[in-house]
């Protein structure tokens, strides 16, 4: 029982990372019908921004050595600017392009970011000692929980709550929901399309920055492709949850975190290498039962 609870907390922490990433992807999909694989690379940008640009294998912290509040602000700003740049340079000129074109453009952006990082930081993985104090174990009854997992969960809940309040209670948020449902109609009513889209990119940047910091604290290593599997898993979470539904993206993220963690824990050791194959098989099963996802958004169902 204690073992299962321990795994459950692991699952919640991993699910948080997937859910935050899936929210960033889901938000842009809702408004632009863009499946933004470059979202993972924004996470990579946030991670590399912590260190001094150099090809050394052991990374020296730059921004990462500032006080935590300054780190959070600086990394968020950098990733937000990067996200806005991808919009201005690539996605804005493609505003009227079809969803497949947009997705392919996002692959291009992904490669460009990865190659940019390669140029300045080199290709080899780097060890980095960032906020490693957060990895201490704390004891709750019979449970021993890494403090970082609790922080991860708390940060995720706070960001989700903030996003919910933004979408429900602010004029910009209401406009964003309207634009996600019917972009052209929102424009007819005076909603500025590019402002809403820019805001969505900015929010996806904040979410990516949060994942950068949480993920690096936990893994302690950097690679120029570290964001790719995150984007892939988050995309799968978005699909499980129901394309276009933010609540679905979060639910899908947590479900995927749960599946992956439990497979890792309970699969026979010989089969653990195939964990992700089992996880994706399970995803296919979910989609066979619920083809439009766990919490489908009414609007996307109509549109497809």
């Amino acid at each position: 029982m204690i073992g299962f609870l321990q795994h459950l907390i692991d699952a919640l922490a991993l699910g948080s990372i997937y859910a935050l990433t899936a929210l960033g992807i889901g938000l842009l999909f809702g408004i632009l019908r863009l499946i933004n694989f470059a979202h993972g690379d924004l996470i990579t940008v946030g991670a590399y921004a912590l260190i001094v640009p150099a090809a050394d294998v052991t990374a020296r912290l730059m921004i990462g050595s500032w006080t935590p509040a300054a780190v959070v602000v600086a990394i968020s700003m950098i990733v937000v600017v990067a996200a806005l740049l991808t919009d201005a340079a690539v996605f804005r000129p493609l505003r009227t392009a079809s969803p497949p074109t947009l997705m392919i453009a996002s692959f291009a952006v992904s490669y460009i970011i990865q190659n940019g990082i390669l140029m300045f930081y080199g290709a080899r993985p780097k060890a980095v000692d960032f906020w490693s104090g957060a990895n201490v174990q704390i004891t709750i009854g019979a449970l021993r929980v890494p403090l970082l997992q609790l922080i991860t969960l708390a940060v995720t809940l706070v960001l989700m709550a903030a996003l919910t309040v933004f979408l429900r209670r602010t004029p910009q948020g209401v406009q964003m929901r309207a634009a996600a449902e019917d972009f052209r109609m929102a424009q007819y009513l005076g909603v500025r399309g590019n402002v809403v889209i820019g805001l969505a990119f900015a929010i996806s940047g904040v979410l990516a920055a949060a994942v950068s910091m949480l993920y690096i604290t936990q893994s302690g290593s950097l690679t120029f492709q570290m964001g790719v599997p995150l984007a892939l898993f988050a995309f799968v979470a978005v699909v499980i949850g129901g394309m276009g539904s933010l609540a679905g993206a979060v639910a899908g993220g947590f479900l995927l975190g749960f599946i992956v963690t439990m497979l890792q824990a309970y699969l026979p050791p010989d089969l653990r290498a195939f964990r992700d194959a089992f996880a994706f098989a399970f995803v296919i099963l979910v989609l066979l039962v619920r083809p439009s996802g766990l919490l489908p958004s009414r609007t996307t169902v109509e549109r497809v």
């Binding site: 004029p171 209401v174 019917d182 007819y188 009513l189």
Partner: protein
């Protein structure tokens, strides 16, 4: 003085299909003008082009003498021109109140928007009762009323309404037209309305354009067209006195 709206030799193409062929029309301040025509005549295309949702291949659209061709829909909305599109396009997951608020944000003045909403709800008691409902739960007639109210929230001078009667019961259609005419008085609206049939329209329109095959076939004062023969001829391509071409061929 220039008309409030002038559409001059407007052509719109969807791929290979010419939806509008050099159509021209104008609307003066305070008028109620109707475009009627059969399915596929290009009525919706005309209104969408005026509101900036469709880009014409040629021709000009002027609002108070200034060309608005090529501007984004959100800019045109700020010139106090608002469209109630065909099929209503309600934001179904938003509440009725949020749907109305969307129309008011553009004004940049919360107090004015709230006052506008209060005033409008006076015309739409059914919407007032359902402010907190998700808009998708409204009936078709209520959704049409919401679509009109939401468009008027932007405080337009010129309101374009695309087939307000679509899919609604006659009693509801009467209500909607009554409200449109009330709003016209109270909010000093100029109206440009699309309909498929001339039945209702002839009663209160000042002028009528009959559109078919993307071109204006007939235009005139509603009073002069009331006997119906000219409209019928323009609408179907043959008059009531002629035998139908299909019959002649057979």
């Amino acid at each position: 003085m220039a008309a409030l709206l002038e559409v001059e030799n407007l052509s719109v193409r969807y791929g290979d299909l010419m939806a509008l062929r050099s159509a021209s029309l104008s609307v003066d301040e305070g008028e109620v003008v109707c475009i009627i025509g059969p399915n596929g005549a290009g009525k919706s295309t005309t209104l969408a082009a005026i509101a900036g949702g469709v880009r014409p291949v040629s021709g000009d659209i002027r609002l108070e003498g200034r060309s608005i061709v090529g501007r984004r829909p959100e800019h045109i909305a700020r010139l106090r021109l608002s469209l109630v599109p065909e099929g209503r396009h309600i934001f179904g997951t938003l509440t009725v109140e949020e749907n109305l608020q969307i129309g008011g944000y553009m004004l940049g003045d919360r107090a004015a928007a709230r006052a506008g909403m209060e005033r409008l709800l006076g015309h739409f008691p059914r919407l007032r009762e359902r402010l907190r409902y998700p808009a998708a739960r409204l009936s078709g007639g209520e959704q049409q009323m919401l679509a009109v109210a939401r468009a008027v929230m932007t405080r337009p001078r010129l309101l374009l309404v695309d087939e307000p009667s679509l899919g609604l019961a006659p009693r509801i259609i009467d209500q909607i037209y009554e409200i449109l005419l009330e709003l016209r008085q109270r909010e000093k609206l100029t109206l440009l309305i699309n309909e498929q049939s001339s039945a209702r329209i002839l009663k209160f329109a000042d002028r009528i354009y009959v559109l078919r095959g993307g071109a204006v076939q007939v235009e005139g004062r509603a009073a002069d067209l009331r006997d119906g023969e000219a409209i019928h001829r323009a609408y179907f391509g043959f008059g009531t006195q002629d035998s139908a071409p299909a019959e002649t061929a057979a």
